[in-house]
Symmetry: C2
Subunit: 398 residues, 2 copies
């Protein structure tokens, strides 16, 4: 017996040209079949890989007091957060825009006495007042990720990247690339090289635009170095060679060396991973203090995830990476619908149960009004069933 | 090789006597390992049973405009809902306190053209301004459930109960009981019997308290009938016999007959299911218009789930049932931790990958500072590992 999935329902559920966007606020959507299943099953796959590397699942709440959620690592998130008053305490509560600061809070409080390295994983929903970037349409976003708390080493940075890469491979996401940055590097370099504070904002903007002409004009004694840094961005092996050949003041060199060491540690664990480096990138990071990473699919602009090093609320070192399942799961095949069997009135219940155990969905005949029995075959087709069960016999529909 | 789970971490993560409740608002909690995994895996089990009966998963958003979420079936939920202003449209948005009204909205709009019966399932988080009852401590609650939209028949009522019972059996919840009620019955009976509107509130309160003396005093011509109804509550077979022997006015009799027919349809599909009936129960139902059901575990006061018949936004008949996974999963064994293997520095990566594929969690050695190597055995024990991988050899710790 072969059963083809009932695609009629799945298709009409994902495309509805009559849907009026006025029904839901911008950035909030109804996810239908099969997308809702693709997301749930994809999250389970990611969490399974995280668990297999010793990351224990936690589930912090959707809302917290403003004082706890926006403290420490979370302070940068204040403007993205919806707030409501708790009628009980009259204190303000925040609907979380990000889960990482909650993990940082837990690590510093309830989980402070657990042995380190502390490996935690999570999957949950976040809400943003506005999407972070114009091209990201969602205000309700899923986050699925890991946090590695305790060690501050290139090996720890590398573990997070390599576990994330394994999770994407397990999910079947094609052509993944990890872009590494070191956000503290450029500000530290400008400071150490004595670039005047009044010049820095314009110079940072020029670097952000990758505008070599403006950098040459504003960079003073650093101009050649900064242009060389701009040009060094690209595939990791070449970038590291270019960065090693640069002369840098000692503090900036030490910060950059950590990025180079992390690249080496990743290459040792996962030699085939596609890595790029952008040494001058420093924008868009909220609470990060070390090596940062953005995950892309080759040829696509959307981020699949991002992460990096930060400090927990009590200044304990940590690094992590968060996937955006809603973006990720548009890139993988939709979850397969179960083949559907229509269970005619009076059909054998044990046979129906056996079909379910074999992976079929069985849909019981349900007359609109009691006693009425329609054409079972027509009804089966109407409901997207490929088979019909009558008595103990399951037949494929012609 | 036998690997015992690393219970040390799991235990210390669920019990922390130093936790200050001031850190989180009342009713919002951090779920730790293993509870967060038990919940996630339990939800997957429930959703799997729902899918096997043809219920397609949907995922409505966490927030909607007040006008859509609190319309129709949702109107009864207004006082339980947090609201925030959408800065984009300046309209009020509601953080959902319940998912069923969202499904009712979807059925009446985007999914209006799909064939009926329309079977939908969902799993998601809801937030209440205050918990519905004193004994339920959560304001953030999980809901996992099904909605069966279209048919208005005892067979449809029965399907929802029987699918829910199968899901609980699959999950391994012991001693489940389904308590059936018909909330419209008593109000209709008082109306039809001509009980004065001024007497009704006191009489309803007396019925609600199961106070036979007060019912006798206030019930007028209905007193004997109402007392008989109070006494009829209990196991379904006896209750139905008692109800069948009562003389009732025709409209009230028709409403009650639907409850009796639903009981018969359930008994036909699942003869061993423990069913009770409470014919006078009418409180605590928000938007229900027909047979309602509450799921209990024998000997426990907490509800595991509830559901019943209602009307979608366009008055289409529907019935559904929602589980409370946070209550449910306290009753089943905790998700088993993966056995943990400590991967010593320089151990073979392929062997570690093979162990993961076999169901082990492998924890990489991560010195606090680069280059430092501690005592691998001590570190392994510290992290709750039962085994250590050195080179290609996995050894059980003594």
């Amino acid at each position: 017996m072969t059963c083809a999935p009932g695609n009629a329902i799945a298709q009409s559920m994902t495309e509805d040209p009559t849907f009026s966007p006025a029904l839901l606020p911008a950035g909030f959507v109804d996810l239908l079949t099969p997308d809702a299943r693709t997301e749930a099953e994809g999250v389970a796959t990611l969490m399974g890989v995280f668990a297999s590397h010793g990351y224990n699942r936690v589930r912090p709440p959707l809302m917290e007091f403003e004082e706890t959620l926006l403290a420490g690592a979370g302070a940068a998130l204040a403007e993205q957060s919806f707030r409501v008053m708790d009628p009980d305490t009259r204190r303000m509560m925040v609907l979380r825009p990000d889960i990482t600061p909650q993990i940082a809070r837990m690590a510093a409080t309830r989980l402070a006495d657990l042995p380190r390295p502390l490996r935690l994983s999570y999957a949950g929903t976040c809400v943003l007042v506005m999407p972070a970037k114009a091209e990201e349409s969602g205000r309700q976003i899923m986050q699925t990720g890991i946090e590695l708390i305790g060690p501050d080493s290139p090996q720890a940075d590398a573990e997070v990247v390599c576990v994330a890469a394994e999770a994407l491979a397990q999910l079947g996401v094609p052509g993944v690339s990890f872009d590494l940055t070191m956000p503290p590097f450029v500000p530290a370099l400008l400071e150490e090289a004595g670039i005047a504070p009044t010049t820095r904002p314009a110079l940072l903007r020029a670097l952000d635009r990758k505008d070599a002409a403006a950098v040459a004009e504003l960079g003073g004694p650093l101009a050649q170095t900064l242009i060389a840094l701009l040009r060094a961005a690209g595939p990791a092996a070449q970038a590291v060679a270019a960065l090693n050949s640069l002369t840098l003041p000692p503090k900036a060199r030490a910060i950059l060396q950590r990025l180079i060491d992390a690249v080496a540690a990743i290459a040792e664990q996962a030699p085939d991973l596609r890595l790029t480096i952008d040494p001058v990138e420093f924008r868009g990071w909220k609470y990060h203090t070390g090596v940062c990473v953005t995950v892309f699919a080759v040829g696509r602009a959307e981020e699949l995830g991002r992460g990096g090093r930060y400090l927990c609320n009590d200044n304990e070192p940590a690094c992590g990476l968060t996937f955006r399942p809603d973006v990720l799961f548009r890139m993988i095949p939709a979850a397969k619908a179960l083949p559907r069997v229509y269970v005619a009135h009076g059909a054998d219940r044990a046979t129906a149960a056996a079909l379910r155990a074999k992976g079929y969905a069985t849909l019981a005949a349900l007359p609109a009004t009691a006693g009425q029995q329609g054409d079972a075959q027509a009804e089966a087709r109407h409901l997207g069933c490929s088979h019909i069960l009558s008595g103990t016999t399951c037949t494929e529909l012609a």
